[in-house]
């Protein structure tokens, strides 16, 4: 009979105590799994969300804030920059280094399904000329439509919606929606946009946003700059009147602003040039930030410390669970001294009985650990809809992290350590006394 089986029988004999001890280990490991996996998924998500372009250009202010509101649709937008600045990337002095520049106008939102989603006013190029991520082999992942099509520049009040917005709010192609001015639900309602496309899921923050034609956005109340008065002429209206057919006219460029610009450079050299010109040139009305660098900063300054704190806490929980194994086995040593003495009388060496106790400790830790992995991933799967709902991070049962592979050898080593004290007690068992024999 193997030591494993003997240890297993010992555990069975104290089923309740063993189960509770194993459960405490399982819960500790489950917490650790959750921290490891969620952290891994969050990091992947953060890195995925900022792909497809080299720079984000926006108004002066916090660089992290610029990334947060442009990439992740969080935080307040920075002060806007003139439309003419954007034009420099399209056909101006910065165009030679620019492959594509996508303007973002932020500041509106949409309330639906009990949630507030950001409305991003942009150009159709966002979905046609920029990828949203990359596959493992390095090939780019391009936006696709689950239904409908991209909006057209000439159709001012067309829009497309992210997959999650569509699902959550029940929006579909042909529906109309009214953006709300501002980032809350209390703002004034604007005129309606028609949904012409629903994007396929990208797993990025863009699943949680609505994308409106920038031309229409400019014509909404409060989005246009007041035109400069021309001496001797009457003040023109802020919003140009419709043409003779009743169709809206585009807002003059002088009255336009953009919140930020996604810039995909022609090459890395171009990225350096643009970075220098924007951040260190004469005209310093804007800033350019590398989103990947900012995401890294975000990870270093916030995500990693939080993960470290959580990890320390869960490691402490596992240590406490390990000590409970020690206490459980150690407390049982008095009652099992008799069994150990019998085994010794049957020929078991001191090392053998010591090994059996160590194996029991390892078995408890391993089973508790494996149960913990299972519980952790099950909780992850059960919580996936809620996590995605509130954090926009997609998680599933099968999200494994390589660090989990270290758990098993770690637990075995730890169990050997905590099992050593009761194992030594077994080693030192006085056979004659434990058997209660006379002289």
């Amino acid at each position: 009979m193997s030591f494993w089986k003997i240890a297993w029988r010992n555990m069975q004999q104290r089923a309740l105590a063993s189960s509770l001890t194993g459960l405490s280990m399982a819960l500790g490991v489950a917490l650790m799994i959750l921290v490891i996996v969620v952290y891994g998924v969050v990091v992947d998500q953060l890195e995925n969300d900022a792909q497809g372009y080299n720079l984000i250009v926006g108004g002066k202010g916090g660089s992290l804030q610029l990334v947060l509101n442009t990439v992740f649709h969080l935080d307040k937008p920075l002060y806007p920059i003139p439309y003419s600045y954007y034009k420099r990337f399209v056909d101006g002095d910065l165009a030679p280094y620019t492959e594509v520049a996508i303007p973002y106008c932020l500041g509106d939102s949409f309330v639906g399904g009990g949630q507030v989603f950001r409305v991003v006013a942009t150009t159709p190029d966002l979905f046609e000329r920029l990828p949203y991520g990359a596959n493992e082999d390095g090939t780019e992942q391009n936006y696709e439509f689950a239904d409908g099509r991209n909006f057209k520049t000439e159709n001012f009040f067309e829009a497309v919606v992210g997959s999650r917005v569509a699902r959550k709010c029940g929006l579909k192609v042909g529906d109309l929606f009214e953006p709300t001015h501002g980032l809350g639900s209390a703002g004034d309602k604007h005129r309606q946009f028609k949904i012409v496309g629903v994007l396929k899921r990208t797993g990025t923050a863009n699943d949680r946003a609505l994308f409106a034609n920038m031309e229409g956005f400019y014509l909404l109340e409060g989005h246009a700059l007041t035109p400069e008065p021309v001496e001797g002429q009457p003040t023109p209206p802020t919003i140009p009147p419709p043409d003779e057919n009743g169709n809206p006219r585009p807002l003059p460029e002088a009255q336009r602003e953009v919140t930020s610009i996604l810039v995909r450079c022609k090459d890395s050299f171009g990225a350096q040039i643009l970075d220098t010109q924007i951040n260190k040139g004469k005209d310093r009305i804007a800033q350019a930030v590398a989103p990947r660098y900012q995401v890294q900063r975000l990870q270093d300054s916030f995500v990693k410390p939080v993960q470290m704190v959580l990890m320390v806490l869960t490691v402490l929980i596992v240590i406490v669970a390990g000590i409970s194994i020690l206490v459980s086995i150690y407390n049982s040593m008095a009652e099992r001294a008799h069994d150990i003495a019998v085994m010794r009388a049957l020929g078991a060496s001191r090392n053998a009985v010591m090994s059996i106790v160590l194996v029991e400790s390892i078995l408890l830790s391993l089973l508790g650990g494996l149960a913990g992995v299972l519980i952790g991933h099950t909780v992850l799967a059960l919580a996936a809809p809620v996590v995605e709902e509130h954090a926009g991070v997609a998680v599933s049962f099968w999200d494994f992290n390589w660090q989990e592979a270290l758990l098993v050898p770690g637990l075995v080593a730890f169990a050997s350590l905590v099992g050593f004290m009761p194992a030594m007690t077994a080693y030192r068992t006085d056979v004659g006394r434990a058997l209660g024999g006379g002289r």
């Binding site: 009979m1 003997i6 029988r9 010992n10 069975q12 004999q13 008799h338 069994d339 019998v342 085994m343 010794r344 009388a345 049957l346 020929g347 078991a348 060496s349 001191r350 090392n351 053998a352 056979v431 004659g432 058997l435 209660g436 024999g437 006379g438 002289r439």
Partner: protein, 223 residues
């Protein structure tokens, strides 16, 4: 087969004073022989068995079993030797409660360093009338059945010597004869020598050779 020569053992009082318990000049058992050892409580019977089994070290002298000086073996070798050549039946059976009948017998084979023979364990139990109780835990067995499992466990490795320490002490008179019959028949069948400690004159009377420890132990008034 078993020979004790000039064996002595003393315990220590709490104040460190030595308390002699055994001083045996010579004691011998032949192969296959069945011997009863009697003596009053505290005269050193269990100590003698433990010394023979190598569970207790002697202070002086030599214990030889099948030509091997047990007292000269290091502890690990002594454990292995005990597992292989000595069976032990205890007063209170000492079956492990978490293990089934057959697992208790297999446990007796586990520490020999040889292959565990499941068939032999099952056969032993079947020969003792427990073929239908192999997977029962001790708590589900009667007193007599438990004692038979203990006998099967002691004989599992086909030992040279079976030590039985008052195996009928906790058994009612109705089962007493049954236990002795089982032990004697099993030892005869397996050709195993037996040293049986008992207080019972009825049990002792059934054996050809009965030794009184007071006759071989030179410690006067051992308690």
């Amino acid at each position: 087969m078993l020979l004790l020569e000039d064996v002595s053992k003393a315990y220590r009082e709490p104040d460190g004073t030595p308390l002699p318990i055994l001083d045996v000049e010579r004691f011998q058992i032949d192969a296959g022989e069945q011997v009863v050892l009697r003596g009053r409580s505290g005269c050193g019977k269990t100590t003698l068995l433990n010394c023979i089994a190598g569970l207790t070290t002697v202070d002086r002298g030599q214990i030889t079993l099948r030509g091997t000086d047990v007292t000269g073996l290091p502890e690990v070798a002594r454990d292995r030797f005990r597992a292989r050549f000595i069976g032990y039946v205890f007063q209170t059976f000492n079956l492990l409660q978490g293990f089934s009948a057959i697992e208790n017998v297999l446990l007796g084979m586990t520490f020999t360093g040889q292959r565990v023979d499941h068939d032999r364990a099952a056969t032993l139990l079947a020969d003792l009338g427990l073929g239908h109780r192999l997977t029962h835990k001790p708590a589900a067995l009667s007193v007599g059945e438990q004692q038979r499992v203990a006998v099967a466990r002691a004989l599992a490795n086909k030992p040279a010597l079976l030590l039985a320490d008052e195996p009928t002490a906790n058994v009612d008179s109705a089962h007493q004869q049954q236990v002795i019959d089982v032990l004697r028949e099993a030892c005869s069948r397996e050709e195993v020598a037996m040293l049986l400690v008992t207080h019972s004159p009825e049990v002792a009377d059934q054996f050809d050779r009965v030794e009184h420890l007071e006759d071989v132990n030179r410690v006067v008034g051992a308690v």
